[in-house]
Subunit: 204 residues, 2 copies
């Protein structure tokens, strides 16, 4: 996968739009030479500027350990071309792999990575947007609900599907670039269609 | 809109699936004879069983006032058939309407409502799922981030698109029943396509 030519920075005040339509994301993390990736349908934008996000990271995951230790994570918005990898990443914990944890979840799933601004945080190729985030420490909700808040410090998107602050999906968009919206049991919904609407005031 | 024959209860442990794929929702609320509705792209599931949700409700909204006073809200998952209403609801605050606030935002937008378990909480017709929630009080994150957590106490979905715990979208689903995924500037993405995937272990 060669995407560097289509990967473009997204101005921070537009970064919320990368999550606004509710895609499933891959959460990547790194600390002390270890790296990991997990799938998370439970994520959302939380604020515009500075942009903030919220994401659920279960206590049982290696990702949780790395995020707590490093105070940072990245949200990668995967596209349909890597759906089978997203599903695999979501089903198997790094703890279940009986090889050294360093690098192995990426290698096991054939996920290629690159770095953005933070030299430690892996970004996943085959995604169409990437958001680097620093944790906003809120220990009570982290402990009680596994709920993590982050401030977005840098963002990028694939210019084939996001430009001028907007997703540009239409009938001509290759299906492998569609974002993924996980349902259950291996089934995703794909956003295949974009349409404009106009507000209606019935009684005006 | 007549939907009562297709509206079916959803078992609570499956309720998270109604939000799992990231739809934009309508937040409805009621207190002391006043009712309101607002659109919210920033929502997500937070837990399985008991099911919990998270949603951002801005301090400037009438919804915020009603939710804080009543300790409850409903999330309605609107479908494409009422996209123009969703857009209108999202753009105009009840405070901007120069008629009595009681009932008027629903009337102004031509939104029909019905009740579920809670006789006060309006549910919006033209939606394909409905979740009644009680606020889990977390004053710090409510005040700091406008972030509200809720426990789902009852849920329903339209059996034409959700059955046996799964969304059933396919090529034959009428477009007006597609869920809405808001982008910006009046543009929505519609989930038009469902597909199965299987986890891949490249190096296994």
């Amino acid at each position: 996968m060669r995407e560097s030519s289509t990967r473009q920075p997204v101005p921070l005040p537009k970064a919320y739009r990368l999550l606004n339509h509710g895609p499933t994301v891959l959460v990547t993390s790194a600390h002390g030479g270890r790296r990991n990736v997990m799938a998370a349908a439970w994520n959302m934008a939380l604020d515009f500027d500075p942009p903030k996000v919220a994401v659920v990271i279960d206590k049982s995951t290696v990702t949780r350990e790395l995020v707590e230790a490093s105070g940072k994570f990245a949200l990668n918005v995967p596209a349909r071309g890597i759906a089978s990898h997203v599903l695999a990443v979501g089903r198997m914990s790094a703890r279940e792999l009986d090889v050294n944890i360093h690098e192995n979840k990426f290698a096991a799933y054939g996920l290629q990575t690159f770095v953005g601004n933070d030299p430690e945080l892996p970004h996943v190729e085959g995604c169409v947007a990437w958001l680097e985030c620093k944790v906003i420490p809120e220990p009570h909700i982290e402990n009680t609900y596994d709920l993590f808040l982050g401030e977005v410090t840098a963002a990028w998107a694939d210019s084939r599907v996001f430009s001028n602050g907007h997703w540009t999906y239409d009938a001509n968009t290759p299906s492998e670039l569609q974002t993924l919206h996980y349902v259950a049991g291996g089934t995703f919904l794909a956003v295949a269609d974009s349409f404009e609407s106009h507000p209606t005031l019935i009684n005006s």
